[in-house]
Every structure is written in structure tokens, then in C-alpha cells.
Amino acid sequence: MYRYDEFDARFVRERVAQFRDQVARRLDGSLTEDEFKPLRLKNGVYLQLHAYMLRIAIPYGTLSARQLRQLALIGEKYDRGYGHFTTRTNMQFNWPRLRDVPEILDLLADVEMHCIQTSGNCIRNVTADHFAGVAADEVEDPRPTAELIRQWSSLHPEFDYLPRKFKIAVTGSPQDRAVTKAHDIGLRILRNAKGEIGYEVMVGGGLGRTPMIAKTIRAFLPKAELLAYLEAVLRVYNLEGRRDNKYKARVKILVHEIGAEKFTQLVEDEYARLDGPSIVADPQEVARIAAYFAPPAYEKLPLRSTGFDAAKTQNRAFATWASVNLFPHKLTGYAAATISLKNIGEAPGDVTSAQMRVLADLAEKYSFDELRITHAQNVVLPHVKQDDLFAVWQALVAADLASANAGLITDIIACPGLDYCSLATARSIPIAQALAQRFADQERQIEIGELNIKISGCINACAHHHVGHIGILGLEKSGKESYQITLGGDATLNAAIGERLGPGLDAEDVPDTIERIVEVYLQHRKAGEPFIDAVRRLGLEPFKAVVQETLHAPA
């Protein structure tokens, strides 16, 4: 993991002092709410429905035990004993007081954390593949790149007042687990014919009101040129992006309106004008950062662990969990374990302070002091010896963290929705809860197989409902909550935007409708055919009929 040096440490401390001063100037009237709002947002402070909300950056989803324990403490001391992991792998606290935020920031700085740019019209927290350093198909670990961008984008003098928020994601694998094509900039690390490392640069993806898949503007950018090229892209966006309409201000609209070709031309012109070498990080700096992500001191282990095999035969529940929640590690004898925060009937992504401490202990004891947060709002222990998996699982069971549903239908992604969020048009958590309850049966979940449901409480699409196999969007219709269902979205390399199945449904009708959709799939699927493939083959018609049935069913 990256560790702060003296420069990073001072930078973050100074930002805390700056925020403290900004709060004081808001209170004495030097700053109006209009002026203060972007300042607090850029430090992760929202005003939500019931209270302020604080969003803490977890850069590229990587956490140490010490950091997670600090979050647990903050949750207890300044919040109400729990936190929420978001789809951008950050942590949100729902109940802090503005007056306490500077103190919280100090506690975060103590463990090399901050809230810088977790909101606002600036470059947001950079995300990466949650199996970075673990996946066998990786060309290069994306985290050093993400860390370089994190530093470069922090308080960037030129790009702190962009037309709109700007999100960057990095993946190091051909199998995109970071949803890069739904980002303002997606970077895919690859090798060219000469074997050199570089990036495919994709721009203009995004969800929200106008979902778009990013277009490639550079098929291969040499690794060393990254920061200069990003500066060119951001400058073009800062100058040309629309500022007349907040819903048209994302870079995806600019790329769409002027065309990817013209946009590419503008970027390349600007890039040609720049003095690249004066902007980019020198190779020693890149190497300095990369060194922090060197593989941990793995043991040389046999291919199979007899202890692991025996535990599976002896304990069915463990065997189920292991078959669903493990991801293959590039090293023999290890596994990456997904810890689901999707217990049936609970709010997706919520975790109590007590649970955070359990997770921290497990990371320290069994996973080289490392945890990952996923965009599916789960936690990963990235490097667990297979020999240790049973012990890990037992500890998870005791902490109510052993749901065996990673990637299954009850592993629902949901934003906070109207239960917390002031922008929401409808609630999303109760829908997630009702669906999880409907599909609670473990065997049935496994029979249905990989299927992701994503629920957003408004058109901002924080839960990425457009790219859910089944997407649910909560809206308001004649003074009531109404839910629109989309089908066929895909967040992987074959990124696709789901299509609407019909008019909005009442909350009570959502579980029946989803169940019928799943039944249509089960009836028509070929052997081993996943849900999303079946939807592609069958088209929307058989599923649309289901929504019509619901709408016309006698009350």
C-alpha cells in the first residue's frame, strides 16, 4: 500500500487547517452559502436530508487495518455506529455535524486519509480494479497509476472549477472490473506490439440522465506521458465543456455534441502545444510510487490445500460460501475472498463499527494487512491462504458477514436513495431489501447464477442502474414513488446500457415483476447460459410482456 511521505502528510494537514478556516469564515459571514458549498463539497461534506454527510476517500478502494479501525472509531464517536460503502468505493457517514468535521479530518490525517475531492465539480477519487495485484490476467497493477493520478489531481489549480464532476478509473486487466467505460476518463493498461506498457485512453463515458459509453481517443499512450496527456484532456474539457446547463456539462455531452473525432483533434492539438516533459512525473517518481505496491511476502504454497478441501467436505455452508465468494488468486494456494455487505434484509453497503473492527483484524491476521472496497459495495480480503479460509469464514459468521451471495441476485447495488439523500426522488434501500428477501433462498440464488440488480433513487444513477443486468430507477410519479425497470445493462468490457421494459411500477409490484423476469430467464435459458447472455439472445420482448402483466393484473 502507498504510504505518505513528509510532503503528502503536510499537504493533508494543511488541507484540514484550510477547511477549519473555511468553516469559520462561513460562520462569520465572510463566505455565503453559495460560495461555501463548493468548498465543503470538495471536502466531501454534503447537506443531506436529515444531516450533513461526510464522504471519505478510499483511493482505488484500498484500506489497511489501521485505517479501517479509525473509520470504526469515527463512526462511533461522531456518527451513529455505522458507515456506508459507496459504488465509488468511498465511505460515507450519514450523521456528522459540520462543527465536528475538522476534528474528523484530523483523525483521518492521522491514518493517511482525507476527504479531498470526494464531491464537487473537480476530479474525483480515482477508482481501480478491486482485484488489482491479485488477478492472473493483469498486464500491470493499476494502483500505481491511480495513486499518481490521485496526487496529480489533488487541488489542481487549473481543474478545481470544472463544468461538472470528473471521474477517472483505471484497469490493468483486459477483463474490465472497474467499469472504465462508464467514466469521464477510462484508462486501460496494455502492451503494444513492442511490448511497452501504455494506456488506452477512453473519454466521455458516464451514466446519469444521458448514459454513454466512453470512446477511445488514444489507442496507445506511452506510460510516461500520462499526466501531460491528462492535462490536455482536462484543459479542453474545462474550456469547451458546457456550463449553461448542469445536465449537459459532463464531458460525455461535449464528446457527443462535437463528436469523438473533433474532441480527439482538440486534445491532440493542445497536447502538441504542451511541454510534456515539464509536466509528467519523472521515472524515479513513478518507480517510487510503484514500489509501495510490490507484492507482499507470499509463501510458496502447494496448488491444493488439504485443510481447505477437508473443511469444504465437512461443512456445507462453508463450501457454499467458498464456491460463491472466492476469486482465484494469481498465486497458488491463495484466494481473494469477497465479504458480502448484502445480508438479506439490510441496507447494501452498510457496515457497523464493530464489523469494521472484525474486518480489520482479519485483514491483519490473514491478508497482509490489506482490504479492498469494491464498486459493488463489498469488501475483499485480497490475499488469503486457502489454509486460512475456514478460520476467516468462521470469524465472518460470528460477525454476521458471511452471506454467500457475491455476484448473485441478492448482491444488490443500491444507493442510499430517499432514506438519506436530498436529491432522491424515491427510496432505493427498501426495494433492495424486499428483493433480497424474495430471493433469499440460497439454492435458488445459486441456480439463478450471476445476475446483478442495481437500484438508484434518482436519475443521477449513483448505483449505475443503467449497467445493471436488471436496473431499477426510482422516480416520482403523481406524488408517489415509481420504479422503472431496465434490462440488459452490462458493466464489463462489453459495456451496454440497459433498455426500459415499460412504464414505472409501484414499489409493491417490483418484487413480483423481477421474479417473473427471472422465471422467463429460467424457462428459456440454455444449459449454462448466464442471465445477461440469455437477455441478449432472447431480446426484450418476452420480458416486456411480464411488465405488462404486472400493470394489468387485477389489484
Binding site: R26, L27, D28, G29, E33, L47, Q48, L49, H50, A51, Y52, R80, W95, P96, R97, L98, R99, A347, L418, D419, Y420, A424, R427, I429, P430, Q433, G479, K480, E481
Partner: protein
């Protein structure tokens, strides 16, 4: 806010406390974190007074996001917002009945006023 843009009567005035974030209601005298203490305006003149109170509190940097909410009166004459959003805002998360005003919690630090 002009009268034309006002929500239908009766209305109450709510806001968030600037320092603590808690949802607060104008009682006619102070800002209270208890919805049952909200002053209910039943006519245009009353609503105009609420608007004046909102403007003043905003100017004094006491509260943010102040606005009028249309309410219905329950059996005991207490104001209940008509819209589901404002109802959740005055109660707390519907998925966590153990949190927020509905559970008797408040973030308001009394010395802040």
C-alpha cells in the same frame, strides 16, 4: 418566494441547522428540532411571516436550505408533511426506525444558539 410559488396551505417552515445539520422547524420564536413544535401557517399572511423568518435566519447564517412545506393536520392537530420526501425528512430514515427524530435523536448542540 412569491405567494404564487408557495405550496398549498397550511404550511410549516423547516431548514437545516448550519452548524449541526439537524432538520429544524420555526416555532414562531426559535428553531426547534421537534416537528411537533413547528408553527403552522393556515393563511397567506401566516405563510408570509414564515418566509420573513426564513430570510432572516438565512441572512444570520443560522440555518441553510429553508423552505415552506405543505402539511396535513393529524387527529391531534399536529402537522404532517403531505409529500413523502418531507415526511421522511421530519421523521428519519424509513429503513432505520432506530435513527433520527423518530427515535428521539438530535444532532443539535443547544449552545449553538
Amino acid at each position: 418566494m412569491t405567494a404564487a410559488k408557495r405550496p398549498p396551505l397550511p404550511v410549516i417552515l423547516l431548514a437545516n441547522d448550519l452548524l449541526d445539520g439537524e432538520v429544524v422547524f420555526w416555532t414562531g420564536r426559535v428553531w426547534s428540532d421537534r416537528p411537533q413544535e413547528a408553527l403552522i401557517a393556515r393563511d397567506e399572511a401566516g405563510a408570509a411571516l414564515l418566509e420573513a423568518a426564513a430570510a432572516e435566519a438565512l441572512a444570520q447564517n443560522k440555518v441553510v436550505d429553508a423552505y415552506l412545506v405543505d402539511v396535513a393536520l393529524d387527529g391531534e392537530g399536529r402537522a404532517v408533511p403531505r409529500h413523502y420526501r418531507e415526511k421522511i425528512k421530519t421523521e428519519g430514515p424509513s429503513v432505520r426506525r432506530d435513527l433520527g427524530k423518530q427515535a428521539g435523536q438530535s444532532n443539535l448542540v443547544p449552545t449553538g444558539h
